[in-house]
């Protein structure tokens, strides 16, 4: 399939000179997402790294109109914006750009409210699994066992299963993606862009600083997360769950790459006990059991 990349590359939506760290996954995600989104979009950037990456006002490295906003307010602001564009007869898509903290924790009520109302917005959660902008503290999306600035001994709770929670809101479209697989990400964004109603995409964005790996390896870590089945690539559309080609092997435990390959490339799990690794494996097994039962139609959400 042709994405017409050559054509869209000529209209960069992420200008040079961002304030991102080298190897920043959010930069990668934004660049590819904007290619799939096209021009008629407005970004609502919820407090986080992306509030800083755009650079010092009044200049900006995002070649989109941007409303920067307080942590818990993104989906509601986007909902208001969608209604305003409707009243003005404009086909402009409000796109919320939020981290995992803004999504899983402080902004969750607002997210759930907009999903329940099926407001016509695209919500993108860039999930780097911690509050990276404030120094790498645990969030509701940090996985079991990961060391963060506020869980130096490793997190004791599992990652909040946001994609499934969003599916249970019965919105038209939910998907997961990874910066390791950009074509997949772009296709999903293209699809969501054209759906009327609330659409949600959660992109795994491995962070070289919080996860402690070499900045040249961002995409590789994003790939390993999928190959080891730590991070599923799925889509949920009109009540039906599909598994992206890259994740099909995860349905069978025996064809998954061992989790150690994903863990040993990063510093978050350095020196952790075998029990923690076992705990994380159990989480992954259970997650795939859930996905499988929805996929096979045994569980209807």
């Amino acid at each position: 399939m042709s994405l017409g990349i050559r054509d869209i590359l000529n209209k960069p939506r992420l200008l040079p000179g961002t304030s991102a760290c080298p190897g920043c996954p959010e930069n990668i995600a934004l660049k590819s997402i904007s290619m799939a989104l096209g021009e008629n979009a407005v970004f609502i950037v919820v407090a986080g790294c992306s509030s800083i990456i755009q650079g010092m006002g009044p200049k900006s490295t995002y070649n989109y109109p941007v409303l920067n906003i307080a942590f818990a307010a993104g989906p509601a602001a986007a909902a208001g914006m969608a209604k305003a564009f409707k009243m003005r007869n404009k086909n402009i898509k409000p796109v919320v750009w939020a981290g995992d903290g803004g999504t899983a924790d402080i902004g969750f009520a607002s997210l759930s409210g907009a999903a329940e109302r099926n407001d016509n917005i695209l919500y993108i959660c860039v999930d780097n699994e911690a509050y990276m902008n404030t120094g790498g503290h645990r969030s509701g999306s940090t996985p079991f066992g990961a060391k963060t600035a506020s869980t130096p001994g490793g997190k004791r709770e599992n990652k909040k299963d946001l994609p499934l929670i969003m599916m249970a809101h019965h919105i038209p479209y939910v998907a997961t993606a990874s910066v390791g697989y950009l074509h997949d990400l772009m296709e999903k964004v293209k699809k969501a862009r054209n759906i009327e109603g609330f659409t949600y995409i959660q992109v795994l964005t491995p962070d070289p600083y919080g996860w402690m790996f070499d900045p040249s390896k961002t995409a590789e870590v994003g790939k390993l997360a999928v190959q080891t089945c730590y991070w599923p690539l799925i889509e949920y559309e009109n009540g039906k769950l599909t598994i992206s080609q890259e994740s099909m092997h995860c349905l069978d435990r025996r064809t998954r790459k061992p989790i150690e390959e994903f863990l040993k490339i990063q510093g978050r799990y350095k020196g952790v006990s075998p029990e923690i690794i076992k705990g994380l494996e159990e989480y992954i097994d259970k997650m795939w059991e859930r996905i499988k039962s929805i996929y096979e139609g045994k569980v209807i959400l």
Binding site: P58, V66, N68, I69, A79, G80, A84
Partner: protein, 396 residues
């Protein structure tokens, strides 16, 4: 223009409708709920050409109207009490973006303990947020100020959001005769929306991104100047409103004076009880006391010059406050003290949490003050010994 007997809440809803608002965020909280119910009903009946968003919290209500306003349409929401406090973060965000927005606050006490009745502490706690803040004293004024608020807020010398306060229950639920302008009258007064920043891919601008300290401070200074500028704008727009829309009120000044010219003493008040205070002034005048009333209609901007002119020569001023800054006193009392440091000013904090303050109570407070039987600042009624806490205990 027609006249009808309606409540403050109904009057505000009509004002919003006549202002041709395009997006309204609604979330219920007593005592303003009737406004948003009324607007939702108007929308359902096809009388209101606006989108109504039923949000899940007040924080989201302010965020939703902020998003809609930044996308270029006229917006509205209403709240009270805990709801206003829950919105607090977004209230600052809106002002700091210089985005025109109008909101009603049906004032109410803030918990704990739970209390649904009227006081002004919720309203006054937003004093420093950069919003223009007007306070109505009648349902008529609530309607008039709401319509004017859109024009004031959207004036290019201002571009600050505006909230209109209204005493919970006392105005929100009480029906009086209100003159309701026609759509044509309001249209002749209120032009289509203008705003400095609009989010549109045609002209990509950013709102609210990181600013260098010096740019941030410049921006803050611009808000301060806009607030000062708004004084002239409010008077201008007020006069125009009297001429084109409802000729029954008087809006050529920010605040109102009653029998102040030859007065030796003055009462200062804000909101519905000002009408009771006017009766007290009449009563005391009949007894030979030279007293007048100064009614605060605008908390922000603060009309310093007018207050100095009208009250600077008085022998004594009594300020009635329905709000309190703990350990410091009533908000209006503190503002007055700062404006007139050399005048003999006393203040009373009263009517908190819906304590009924009628004409008689104001009359006896005023007499006590004139007889010189008062301290600088006191509570009325003051029965603090009845709310002793339990004996403290050590926790094992």
């Amino acid at each position: 223009m027609i006249s009808k007997v309606i409540s403050g809440n109904e009057a505000v809803a009509l004002g919003v409708k006549l202002s041709r608002v395009k997006v309204i965020a609604i979330y219920p909280i007593t005592p303003q709920t009737y406004i948003i119910e009324e607007l939702a009903a108007m929308r359902d009946k096809g009388e209101l050409d606006a989108e109504v968003i039923r949000v899940e919290s007040e924080h989201s209500a302010m965020a939703a109207v902020y998003g809609a306003a930044s996308a270029g349409v006229r917006v509205y929401t209403a709240t009270a009490s805990q709801g206003l406090l829950y919105m607090h973060e977004m209230i600052w965000w809106v002002a700091g973006s210089r985005i025109p927005i109008v909101m009603t606050v049906g004032t109410r006490a803030v918990g704990a303990p739970w209390n649904i009745w009227n006081e002004h502490t919720d309203f006054m706690s937003e004093r420093d947020s950069g919003w223009i803040m007007a306070f109505a004293s009648t349902p008529q004024e609530a309607l008039d100020l709401t319509i004017q608020a859109f024009k004031i807020s959207e004036d290019e010398r201002v571009f600050l959001p505006m909230m209109v306060g209204m005493d919970g229950f006392i105005l929100s639920h009480t029906k009086t005769r209100v003159y309701i302008p026609s759509q044509e009258e309001v249209d002749s007064f209120l032009p289509p929306r203008k705003q400095p920043y609009v989010l549109d891919p045609e002209d990509p601008v950013d709102i609210g991104n990181m600013f260098q300290p010096i740019d941030y401070m410049k921006f803050r200074h611009s808000m301060h100047l806009a607030m000062l500028n708004s004084k002239e704008v409010i008077k201008e727009i007020g006069k125009e409103y009297e001429k084109k829309v409802v000729p029954v009120g008087s809006y050529s000044s920010l605040n109102e004076s009653y029998k102040l010219d030859d007065a030796e003493y003055a009462l200062v008040s804000m909101g519905a009880w000002s009408l009771d205070a006017m009766q007290v002034v009449d009563e005391l005048r009949n007894m030979g006391v030279k007293i007048g009333l100064y009614r605060i209609r605008y908390v922000r901007p603060w009309d310093e010059e007018d207050i100095k002119r009208k009250l600077g020569d008085k022998d004594g001023i009594l300020v009635l406050d329905r709000s309190v800054s703990f350990g410091r006193g009533g908000h209006l009392y503190l503002e007055l003290k700062a404006t007139l440091p050399d005048v003999n000013i006393k203040g009373v904090v009263t009517g908190l949490g819906g304590v009924a303050i009628n004409k008689d109570a104001i009359s006896s407070l005023t007499k006590k003050f004139i007889e010189g039987k008062t301290d600088g600042e006191w509570f009325y009624p003051s029965e603090v010994e009845k709310v002793e806490l339990r004996n403290p205990r050590y926790i094992k």
